[in-house]
């Protein structure tokens, strides 16, 4: 690894950091043993902060480069390109890295007030989950994508069960079964694509697709379709999303917030592969499956919207909003229109941040409703399987008659905690529903104007109309569903004493929603970044060229005898 002498010397290390940091942190934590919670928390915070810094560095670096150089490529094994493992960062990957790092940091911070004590190994699992996410965003190789998917899924199984209880275990069982099945489909798809093209490197595969003989094209499409099923199941596209609301609603609060990023991995994989392998210029395979993506996404958007309206619990409303945002993103991918993709990417950022914040709010609002002055501490269940832990029943003393403490509401100052919760809920609602003046509105406006400006082609015209209508309807329904929740929480007559908020709990919510506000304040530069991302996505030659041009670094023994970059093995 040492001795990189090209201009990307320092960036090469930074590309590795998002994968290596959480891995090292998780390894250290496991080595420390389960009793050292403070050390775990400190290590986790350190690693997450460093990940945010690394992601920002990569983002700034990638954004500072001009079009042909906006890629960072690193060969971890120092093997020539189509054969070895390749990590590549471009604008899209940097954006996703930043989103996962920020969400990871915020959910870690939130968990520190009590959730990390609800079971064992919370911190290492969180780190491994982040490692899987970051690896999936960085890899330029289909089989490594599978491996990183498995890493993040295996960690997510553990995290979903964190806290224990029958409800969680039941939802977890369904979740694991679905994901194992999807992983098998993933493998079949990858191996079919390997059988047809003879390569696993995504850039190499995209370059070779044009040369695939007609007799094999059916197999190629079958492989791609199977792969898409696996990705779309993870992105919660209808009809493969029935597992999501129960699982996300059952997960402990910080885990659910982190899972808001996880559905985006499926979306990311579809976006990456489809823009890379099946652009409009791909000859016989041009825009393969885009109709399915568009209509699948639209149905999902409709399903999520109706689901939001039909749910009563806040957690389920937010879960369905995650489904709706996945649907929007997948549909936008299918249209293959750079302007629409740019809007969708902006939407992705704002929906992920707001979704995570809302998941965090679920618990805080629940606490406000349960008239609890003091948050109950979780039972500590070291050394037992999470599944066998006590369900997290929170005992309410039988003689707690809080009505006695009630003071007349007239003339009473609103407690700061209620103000904060109300404000945070309002901001989250505005972002999720896409109402002005927040980032959801900017994203929706960008998408809607892109739909209007789209050249009217046969086939996409009706889909465009449907997308336009659904965007507006889903915003309206989101407002209805969320304001119903808000009415119940904030204006219900039994609401008495103010909930106690801790800094560790309110800070992440404020940070996530604050980033949504930053997105709208820096809206123009944000949109410019997204447009550049979309432009490079829709011109896959840049990515293919950057990855294929990477050369292994000569080893010290070769350097004396071989010319620079001449190290063929």
């Amino acid at each position: 690894m040492s001795g990189l002498d090209s201009s990307g010397w320092s960036m090469a290390q930074v590309i590795l950091l998002p994968v290596l940091l959480p891995l090292a942190a998780a390894g250290l934590m496991v080595g420390l043993g389960v009793q050292r919670r403070r050390a775990h928390a400190a290590l986790g915070l350190l690693s997450c902060t460093a990940m945010v810094v690394a992601a920002v560095t990569l983002l700034l670096w990638v954004d500072g480069q001009h079009a042909p150089r906006a890629f960072g490529v690193y060969l971890p094994g120092n093997w020539p390109v189509p054969f070895g493992i390749v990590l590549a960062v471009d604008r899209l990957a940097a954006l996703m890295l930043l989103l996962s790092a920020v969400t990871g940091l915020c959910s870690l911070l939130f968990s520190l007030s009590r959730w990390h004590r609800a079971g064992t190994h919370f911190h290492p699992l969180l780190q491994l989950q982040l490692m899987g996410l970051n690896g999936a965003f960085l890899t330029a190789d289909l089989f490594n994508l599978f491996v990183f998917f498995e890493v993040l899924l295996a960690a997510s199984y553990g995290l979903l069960l964190h806290g224990g209880g029958g409800n969680r275990v039941r939802a977890g069982l369904h979740y694991i079964a679905i994901n194992l099945f999807a992983s098998l489909l993933f493998l079949v798809g990858v191996s079919l694509l390997y059988g047809v093209t003879g390569t696993l490197n995504m850039a190499d595969m995209a370059a070779k697709l044009a040369a695939v003989p007609d007799s094999d094209r059916g197999l190629l499409h079958a492989g791609a379709a199977l792969l898409a099923v696996a990705f779309l199941a993870k992105a919660a596209i209808w009809p493969m999303n029935f597992w999501l609301p129960p699982a996300y609603a059952a997960a402990s609060t910080p885990v659910a917030a982190l899972f808001a990023v996880m559905t985006k991995v499926g979306v990311y994989a579809v976006l990456r592969l489809w823009t890379l392998c099946f652009p409009a210029t791909a000859g016989d395979s041009a825009l393969f499956g885009s109709e399915a993506l568009v209509w699948g996404g639209l149905v999902t958007l409709g399903f999520g919207t109706i689901g939001m309206l039909a749910s009563h619990s806040f957690a389920r409303v937010v879960s369905f909003s995650i489904i709706a945002s996945s649907g929007t993103l997948v549909a936008a991918t299918g249209f293959d229109d750079p302007a629409l993709t740019a809007g969708a990417l902006f939407y992705l950022a704002s929906a992920t941040l707001a979704g995570a914040a809302m998941f965090l709010l679920v618990e805080l609002l629940d606490r406000a409703r349960r008239l609890e002055a003091d948050p109950p501490s979780m039972p500590v269940v070291d050394g037992r399987l999470p599944g066998f832990a006590e369900p997290d029943a929170e005992p309410v003393p039988a003689d707690a008659n809080l009505d006695d403490l009630a003071v007349p509401l007239i003339g009473r100052a609103i407690p700061a905690a209620v103000t904060f919760l109300g404000l945070a809920f309002l901001v989250g609602t505005l972002v999720l529903a896409g109402l002005p003046p927040l980032s959801g509105f900017v994203a929706k406006l960008a998408m809607l104007s892109a739909v209007l400006a789209m050249p009217a082609q046969i086939g996409t015209a009706s889909a465009g109309v449907v997308l336009f209508a659904l965007q507006i309807l889903s915003g309206l329904f989101a407002v209805i569903a969320l304001s119903r929740v808000g009415l119940r929480v904030f204006w219900s007559p039994e609401q008495r004493g103010a909930p106690e908020l801790r800094v560790a709990e309110s800070l992440p919510v404020a940070a996530l929603l604050g980033l949504c506000v930053v997105l709208v304040i820096g809206g123009e530069s944000g949109l410019r970044y997204m447009r550049a991302t979309a432009a490079s996505l829709h011109d896959p030659q840049g990515y293919i060229g950057a990855v294929m041009a990477a050369r292994p670094v000569p080893t010290p023994t070769e350097r004396g005898t071989l010319p620079r970059f001449g190290g063929s093995r």
């Binding site: 199984y157 069960l161 039941r170 079949v188 390997y194 599944g387």
Partner: protein, 114 residues
């Protein structure tokens, strides 16, 4: 040989799918294992089936796929097997936890109403 392999994959897949659709957790687990065996065989077969060919470079043979069997699917299968084992074991633990918590081995944690 192709026929034998395809039959094996087909039978394993069919049995696996049937078992996955059963309402008992253990049957689901067995179904997923069978499916993963089928997938592993499938991965193995995409690198073209060959008898008695070298997977690693040997002196005196031209290094092309006429003389060698494709080593890449084999390494993929190896990785897939390892990951499959790990996730199946994890599934088994969750299955046992659900059994312990609910006293039922139905996938929903409660027996169907007669």
């Amino acid at each position: 040989m192709e026929v034998v392999i395809s039959l094996a994959i087909g039978v394993l897949t069919a049995a696996g799918v049937w078992l996955v659709l059963r309402p008992r957790t253990f049957q689901v687990l067995m179904g997923l294992s069978m499916l993963s065996y089928a997938v592993n065989l499938f991965i193995f077969s995409v690198g073209s089936l060959a008898i008695d060919r070298e997977p690693i470079v040997k002196a005196g043979l031209q290094p092309n796929l006429v003389d060698y069997t494709d080593p890449l699917p084999q390494s993929l299968v190896l990785t897939a097997i390892v990951i499959g084992f790990a996730t199946t074991a994890l599934f088994l633990v969750v299955l046992l936890a659900l059994r312990g918590l609910t006293g039922s081995d139905h996938v929903d944690g409660q027996e169907e109403r007669p």
